[in-house]
Symmetry: C2
Subunit: 136 residues, 2 copies
């Protein structure tokens, strides 16, 4: 089941500039960067416990975020719900007709199992499910 | 200063259907609807403490959400930071060159003073600042 809003992700055209904005202009704590090679994404996290803001930027100019930025320039990219049993939630939602961007969860940032629900299944919103490894 | 992620807002083309989705499919608690006449918006809230998901839909088919839905069909609409002193934050951000959608904060949902930063000041993200009335 879904237990929390894990994070909100914002696609940004200039990661360093956006990190500076959220630190200096909005006064948020900065928790460091992490490159997620499997998702071709550079990320930066700002904890607002128990949730967080995640900035996402293309790793080496490639991948899904590059396409998003090309089309929209930047903006709110996805929201992520934390779950305590990702396989059970995926099975339950597939049963209800939800489509996913991949067949199985894969390893995302912060050592979590993640999977994305197709935006067309959720009124245009890209929703990620995430379960910290070690749980369940 | 910014103290929390107050909420994430999702523009939805069918409010009743979306309420059902977030209650039944995602298992979130539903905290009821509120029409905000000044913003020409119908809202529905799902608390994920200390933040919440807000669904937004045009009130009587008019207003800014109607335009958004016409253009994009639905999707992540804005994020809202809670502040403990909205006037001070607006003044500080204006000093830094941020543009706002209105000159002054106005009354939003849940008896809060709210103001929106122009998306062009934040890489395409619409950011709301909100301060519960009675604070400060």
């Amino acid at each position: 089941m879904i237990t929390a809003l894990d994070h909100i992700a914002i696609a940004v055209p200039d990661l360093e500039k956006a990190i500076k904005r959220f630190m200096e202009d909005f006064g948020l704590n900065y928790n460091g960067r992490e490159d997620v090679a499997t998702a071709k994404t550079s990320t930066a996290f700002f904890p607002l416990p128990p949730t967080q803001i995640e900035l996402v930027h293309p790793l080496n100019g490639e991948g899904p975020i590059a396409g998003y930025l090309e089309k929209r320039g930047g903006g709110l990219h996805h929201l992520c719900f934390r779950t305590d049993d990702i396989e059970a939630d995926v099975a339950r939602l597939k049963e209800k007709g939800y489509q996913f961007l991949s067949e199985q969860p894969s390893l995302g940032a912060h050592n979590c199992k993640v999977i994305f629900i197709h935006p067309k299944s959720c009124d245009g919103v890209l929703i990620e499910l995430s379960q910290p490894m070690g749980e369940h």
